[in-house]
Symmetry: D2
Subunit: 389 residues, 4 copies
Amino acid sequence: MDFFHQYDQLLSQEELGHVQRAREFCEGAFSESIFAAHLAGEAIPVEWIGKWAATRMLGLQAKRTHSGHEASYICKIRVAQEMALHGFAAAFCLNHHQGGVTRLSQTGTPAQIEHLLTPALRGELLLTSAMSELSGGSDVAALTTSATPVAGGWSLSGTKAWLTNGMVVSGLIVLARVPDAAGAGEIASFYVPLDEPGTFQRKEIMVPGARSFRLAEISFSEHFIPEWAAIAAPGAALKASMASVNAARVHVAAMCVATLQSALSEAIAYCERRQAFGKPLVAHQGLRWELAEVSVRLEAANALVFRAAEQIQIGGKPVSLAAQAKKFAVDTAIWGIDQCVRIVGATGASAAHRLNMHFAEVRLAAYADGTNEMLLDRIGRGLPSGYRN
Amino acid sequence: MDFFHQYDQLLSQEELGHVQRAREFCEGAFSESIFAAHLAGEAIPVEWIGKWAATRMLGLQAKRTHSGHEASYICKIRVAQEMALHGFAAAFCLNHHQGGVTRLSQTGTPAQIEHLLTPALRGELLLTSAMSELSGGSDVAALTTSATPVAGGWSLSGTKAWLTNGMVVSGLIVLARVPDAAGAGEIASFYVPLDEPGTFQRKEIMVPGARSFRLAEISFSEHFIPEWAAIAAPGAALKASMASVNAARVHVAAMCVATLQSALSEAIAYCERRQAFGKPLVAHQGLRWELAEVSVRLEAANALVFRAAEQIQIGGKPVSLAAQAKKFAVDTAIWGIDQCVRIVGATGASAAHRLNMHFAEVRLAAYADGTNEMLLDRIGRGLPSGYRN
Amino acid sequence: MDFFHQYDQLLSQEELGHVQRAREFCEGAFSESIFAAHLAGEAIPVEWIGKWAATRMLGLQAKRTHSGHEASYICKIRVAQEMALHGFAAAFCLNHHQGGVTRLSQTGTPAQIEHLLTPALRGELLLTSAMSELSGGSDVAALTTSATPVAGGWSLSGTKAWLTNGMVVSGLIVLARVPDAAGAGEIASFYVPLDEPGTFQRKEIMVPGARSFRLAEISFSEHFIPEWAAIAAPGAALKASMASVNAARVHVAAMCVATLQSALSEAIAYCERRQAFGKPLVAHQGLRWELAEVSVRLEAANALVFRAAEQIQIGGKPVSLAAQAKKFAVDTAIWGIDQCVRIVGATGASAAHRLNMHFAEVRLAAYADGTNEMLLDRIGRGLPSGYRN
Amino acid sequence: MDFFHQYDQLLSQEELGHVQRAREFCEGAFSESIFAAHLAGEAIPVEWIGKWAATRMLGLQAKRTHSGHEASYICKIRVAQEMALHGFAAAFCLNHHQGGVTRLSQTGTPAQIEHLLTPALRGELLLTSAMSELSGGSDVAALTTSATPVAGGWSLSGTKAWLTNGMVVSGLIVLARVPDAAGAGEIASFYVPLDEPGTFQRKEIMVPGARSFRLAEISFSEHFIPEWAAIAAPGAALKASMASVNAARVHVAAMCVATLQSALSEAIAYCERRQAFGKPLVAHQGLRWELAEVSVRLEAANALVFRAAEQIQIGGKPVSLAAQAKKFAVDTAIWGIDQCVRIVGATGASAAHRLNMHFAEVRLAAYADGTNEMLLDRIGRGLPSGYRN
């Protein structure tokens, strides 16, 4: 029984075709290229963005009227999982571009669609969300970036940090506080083009071993936002952001289980091949049990991720379940890949295996869309209503 | 979203009715009675067997022509889960009686059905399988109980141990070696009535805290088995036994997650009620995170158990998945109930809560249908074919 | 190298003699008797209190002028460990009696010594501390028991819970609030004799599997305390209680490691003896690794407990270290004994082994002198000063 | 109480001076330089070898007649720990050079001392042991490198792998099989100079994130070894290698606890400084408990490592204890540093902290002087004699 069969059962023939195309794209040159970049301590070559866009995958969930595929949530997950088998960072970051297009197609204003959609579909205009600031990831009350109304738009000042793909994006979806008369102000969101150097500064946040995320910090000093670029009105931005967080968490979780599945497969194959003390490693009972235990938790993570994904697919709002799935999938992936690296011995840490790349990259999953601590708090709040005798 | 909704989606209206009747049976007097028995260090009152039989639940999977319900596997699981919310041992042991009836109805010979089915359906004739011996649970090669052909049947000698419900059953399904000319012999199975005192001896295996399993050791000394009582021919018994082991493992796993769900609910309710340092326990972040983590792993176990159950429901043979589900569900239940007991403080170990009963009873799940060690070995053997790049 | 050699290196010849006498006392009839009591679901026979007192062990730390031995802290620990090898509850509870005598001899007033010391040394007058109340273990601000001044003493009202040996003690050291004019009041402590039935009520807190702790709840309704029975003045009681908590925590931790050492030894011996699949259990690599991992953490716990004990022995106040040692020793003992029970298979849960008794009893260590949650909070507060670059 | 006080109590004044000098050497430029190298994906600058040699630290355990300090084992450990607070790889690798000098001074022949000692003390001639081969680390029976007697010495052929400092050493202590007439042969050891290019080849084993170990694979093709370079005769080399393995394991374990202590201190300092939701991170109970739990296991590891080190210091052969200490210290360090990285949030993975460097480097400890799997096997063999009732 295939590892992904629960998901695939819910896909249409067309969607299965998308998954198949993603699989074919990833095998071969792509897979080798992203691994080589890791070994060189560099980010994934930027050319892959265009090649991925050329397969029309960026429009996976865009409307058909926008040349998209209107694929379902689970289809999107499966596409990302196919890539995550080869590399977590690649899957996370290339699919991140797809998220920007989807949002534009589904909720953009006509003006935004007109300005942005075509280049976005082509991978020429890359977007990312900008919520976190240096002073803290999830503490929204502490958000200090401000968008002050000026003629024809707003003037943006402040610094956003931990921007995925931040080194290559040409636009941000920024959450900023719009000051009111009383000096306080509510949070709105804006499309912020990064095409006027001089009023913004970008620098890489160096994360050794995980440069493919191209994390950046971008500072604005009276940076102009045109009127047509408004997204959510003051007071509405957080709600919109919250509405998508369940799906985002399960998406990350789904990539984590795929990467762990790949790591486990690689470790097992090595342990079948390699001999010690006169028999294959996998024939040593203690080692075999260690691998078996990884498979046990991997399957649990996979089943839980599917359960949460199914709820999102049918339009549910599985707040607790999505948080539980992400917490468990991330913990299991980090633990499980570490086990795989260690089980195969010192070679696991070397360039002879992709294990070490998986290990370095999947760790970043812990920070996306809620750290463990945020998730435990979120789950904790739902316990009394969720578990009643 | 209900904890059991994945399972319930696959049930017919009639089957949902069985689940509902089981739920109603368990609430109230039954639930109080089994807890009182635990506190008194005694087994569940034997009268509950007859009352449960009176609801016609023992025929849950028996053929309709035998007055059974022909309920599906997942229906059986859900009925057991409803009882496991109140007590694991009760659920395990009462449903164990149901297993004997099912086997009889589905695979018994006409003579066996004639002799045994009616009293079995009424809970008057209780059966259990007898495979393990004192010298070892799962090492079949070491099985020494023998059934020697004699006039009109066989003569049984040897000792069977770890018999669930062993103190109350009136018949066993015994695996025994039928000697051949060469002095070796293959393993067959027999229905062995326990109605001729003098040729068998029964004694309780004392398991403090878990006497409701009524574990017994039964020794035979030239005990007569009538001809009509043969079940599997020499060489065929183990295969039959293996065929049912996946379903049995997932069944146990399903009860484990139900009992943990109940324990977690009880702990949360207590932590909402109880104050310390000026606020409810659940308002203390550290404690709340501990409860949340239990919920995370519980949901993972539940989703994995469902995935395995679904495969069995559709007739699959999920050897690895069933073993993975049992390993994970048992580990999670034992760990999680322990967490619940400890989180609520010393009171958790006292008679004020059912937590301590759950904790003492669910531990026995680790030994039924394969210990962790057997499961890891089983899973380990399947790894190379199960996880391929 | 002996498991206890670090401790024993710090003992005098006389003290090593105490340890040796304790060892001899515990072997044989005592060890069998406490195990039989566990299997019967009863507390340890009360006669062992007198027999232990007859070895003059209750005066282990009493002054020589009071016929005591003035033994050091580590000697006391080692005596308790010798008993904990046979049973944790026995060690905890019999040594608890010794604690009452020590306090009396070292800090009692002449009147208290005159009234109480001789019967206490003989094990005829048993004492325990009474701090916890039903509404909460460690939340001192919520303490409601009151001692109102009356002619010739105080009048005590309120309920104390979770009293170790509570079913057999004839006196308590009670912490109670002495009301002031403003209606508030500070906490004082008193010796409270339990010899006037009618003004107090005692009932057992039923803890299945651990009745040897004889946990009780005792309620007072205008119970008279004579003037000579005052111990700490209002405002001073908590400080005195805090002064001894480090030593108490390490004491419990020391018994935990001894009980785990005993459990591991029992499991190893069984796995050497028992065959499966043609060789001893211990020859199966997976199982052997599981046992080895228990030994790894046991040795870590033992070394940490020793480090904390050494600090207390030399008069230090290792607040964090004592809390760390207790947290780790308790967690390791509960986990490790569970592993031992499970490794040996179903037999581990039965009356054939002492493992199950160890498992049921050592769990209570988690509640004595600070739950895990209290300890983490205590350790957490010390982190900034304890770990500086 | 200082984290290292148990160790320091056993040092002489002179030895405490060595520790103090090491501390001063590491602070400042050295510490910054090794961190910068990590961020750049490079090995530690090679110049530090000479500077460290200039402090005469390479002769720490050399004989006084060889200008060494004759420092004790625990002094050596403490020096390494001072460096490990700044970086694990630096500590491991610079102290590795010291090991070569010590062996030479203590057991070298007069000819070897004459040829090698002076440049070795100056850090001009660097040595490392070469035992592992590509086909397997610890499976000595599979060792294939051969040293065939030739005129004036031996001719070496084969490939050695996983050589610490392998990219910079100018000599190896090679274990090789000396063929006998029958075609088999026993294992001997040799000093093998790497000064004749043409008969050997060296290449880096790329380990992303841990290049400071300078791991290399070196192949020999009829490489000449002069007669005076023999170390252990055929049959004696493994015994010599085994004699030092306990001390080597505890040495690694001691550096692990130091690096974790440093990581925990860094995390705590950050959590005191950084605010979220209106208070410092460390004031959030859940997070504080996570940090506290790291401290608990760190202290356990530290105490266990000390216990094993003390045995080695007094000349014991703590085979099991050394293996237990290494297993626990490595596991705790890898787990604990991971916790620290994650607790501080995404910043923990970035160049703003040394945490990520510690995390990447300490993982290599798992492979030095016995993987977890080898250690569990070693410990497992000692269980029956080590834990007896």
